[in-house]
């Protein structure tokens, strides 16, 4: 692996080398390495680009890494990854994507990830998006995540996009059956003239199902963000979404949370707060000896930590 690939692996998957356990590395639109285990199989799709990741029922304490690295300017990569998680399995999935664009053309990665969690399966899904490179070519990512949770299944999704992605439209769709639970923790920071839109639709279809969407974002410079969510309670269920944003400079954030209750026992809540860093917060930090710029940095880092 070359230096750029290593650096990008570190950024998106916190890896210093190829991971242990199951993994599939995709680089510049092609497979660049794969490992499977007795319980986790990875199979290349025949009819479209992408892979199927199949986790056997009952698999525990295993992880799957599927990093994607793009370092070729002008490359547009589209991939379909399907995850089949067997009953009672409990695994961690790390899917990072890094674009290193030093050229003048647009580099783009669109990943469509579909999760099928069988009864009582449980996953923690970590996804980090990162871009760098001093070229003028834009770095674009449009991830779609489709989630089907069977009875008692639970998924925690942690997504982070802190730097370097110029344009992103993130779609998340989920259907949750009885006793299933979905937790999404999203962190986004945009700078320059970047744009990020995140859009959730969650159907809570079974008794005792739940969803908790937590979004924290920072929009600096002239960047723009939009948060859109619709939690639909179609059964006795609990849904909660929270959009918390800091705007700086000429940043702009719009939050459009929607709640739809189709069942009398659907308990749905939304919280949203958008604003600049409060003067007294900066003042507190400054009384500790930080400059105003250092104070802002600490507040933003803490907010997104």
């Amino acid at each position: 692996m070359d230096e750029i690939t290593l650096k990008m692996l570190k950024e998106v998957a916190d890896l210093d080398a190829l991971p242990t356990g199951a993994y599939n590395l995709r680089e510049n639109g092609k497979a660049a390495g794969r490992n499977t285990t007795a319980n986790i199989d990875i199979v290349t799709k025949k009819d479209e680009p992408g892979i199927d990741i199949i986790v056997k029922p009952g698999t525990k304490n295993e992880s799957v890494h599927i990093p994607v690295i793009i370092s070729q300017t002008g490359l547009k990569d589209l991939v379909y990854n399907d995850f089949y998680i067997g009953e009672d399995a409990d695994v961690v999935i790390v899917a990072g994507c890094g674009i290193h664009n030093c050229g003048g053309s647009l580099s783009q990665h669109d990943g469509i990830h579909t999760f099928h969690l069988a009864k009582n399966a449980k996953i923690r899904y970590i996804e980090k998006h990162y871009g760098e490179g001093d070229g003028t070519g834009r770095r674009v990512m449009n991830p779609s995540t489709v989630i089907y949770l069977e009875e008692g299944a639970s998924m925690t999704m942690e997504t982070t996009q802190i730097a370097g992605i110029d344009d992103t439209i993130r779609l998340t769709r989920a259907e949750v059956k009885a006793g299933g639970s979905l937790v999404v923790k999203e962190k986004i920071m945009t700078t320059g003239d970047q744009y990020a839109r995140t859009d959730f639709v969650v159907d809570l279809n079974g008794e005792g199902s739940s969803a908790n969407l937590i979004s924290r974002s920072v929009a600096k410079d002239n960047s723009r963000q939009a948060f859109v969510s619709d939690i639909r309670g179609n059964a006795p269920c609990a849904g909660h979404s929270e959009c918390d944003a800091i705007i700086m400079d000429n940043g702009s954030v719009s939050a459009s949370p929607k709640l739809t209750a189709n069942n009398i026992d659907a308990a749905l809540i939304h919280e949203a707060a958008i604003g600049k860093i409060a003067g007294e917060q900066l003042e507190k930090m400054m009384t500790l000896g930080l400059t105003e710029a250092e104070a802002e940095e600490q507040i933003v880092n803490g907010f997104l930590s």
Binding site: E283, T287, G289, G302
Partner: protein, 242 residues
């Protein structure tokens, strides 16, 4: 030593909040008291640099800090525990104590600072400074941050508001310990007799003017007596508990 000369502060709407205050702080503990709205917090905000005076001068160990930024004053050795501590979503108690102790400090004595304010480190160190902390907990964390800073001048704005389930004795111990370490001065805004009792000097502010300035023995009896002044001062804050 802190010297305040002819200090005045006029709010943006033209109201005279503080007028012509002269004060020297060289003692261990200096208590500022007086009725609500008297200008106590305003005076300390002027010292820490949160407000800029319309007139007058502030000297710290002979250095004119009147027009310095909050940051510069902090670096020269001014610490300020707010009357109303701010919440900072995402930042943890440990983050704030580390920042308070100073950027280069590697081994921050989180347990020491927190136990001094009656909080168990293991329960609090990873707590976020957010709405899940009670007002009393926040006040004590604010005091722990001042301890971590350990500077030659520390200002506490009504610290007693944080002592629910704690004690005055412990709070006073914090001041004593801090003085032992810094050998500096501690300014405490308070309405509490038990705190005024440890002050080397007591200052009374009313309607934006400094109306009394003397040793504890000179000032305290008057405040505790049955004079109208005393009632105003103490009842002004303590309400039903007086």
């Amino acid at each position: 030593m802190l010297e305040i000369k002819n200090l005045s502060y006029r709010a943006d709407d033209g109201a005279e909040i503080l007028q012509d205050v002269d004060l020297t702080v060289r003692e261990r503990f200096v208590a500022i008291t007086g009725p609500n709205g008297g200008g106590k917090s305003t005076l300390t905000k002027l010292i820490a640099g949160l407000y800029q005076p319309t007139e007058g001068q502030i000297l710290l160990d002979g250095v004119d800090i009147t027009h310095m930024s909050i940051t510069e004053r902090a670096r020269l050795g001014v610490s300020y525990a707010f009357q109303q501590p701010v919440r900072l979503k995402g930042l943890k108690v440990s983050d704030m104590l580390r920042l308070a102790a100073g950027k280069d400090k590697k081994n921050v004595d989180y347990c020491g600072y927190l136990s001094e304010v009656g909080l168990c480190a293991k329960d609090y160190i990873n707590r976020e400074i957010n709405a899940t902390l009670s007002g009393g907990e926040l006040k004590r964390i604010e005091i722990a941050m001042a301890l971590a800073r350990s500077t030659k001048l520390t200002i506490f704005d009504e610290p007693e508001a944080g002592i629910d389930l704690w004690s005055f004795q412990s709070l006073i111990h914090v001041f004593e310990k801090m003085h032992e370490e810094t050998q500096g001065s501690i300014i405490i805004i308070s309405h509490q007799e038990r705190i005024l009792n440890i002050a080397d000097k007591i200052v009374v502010l009313r309607d934006g003017r400094l109306v009394q300035d003397g040793t504890r023995d000179e000032v305290l009896p008057g405040l505790l007596g049955t004079t109208r002044e005393a009632c105003n001062v103490l009842l002004g804050k303590m309400g039903g508990t007086a």
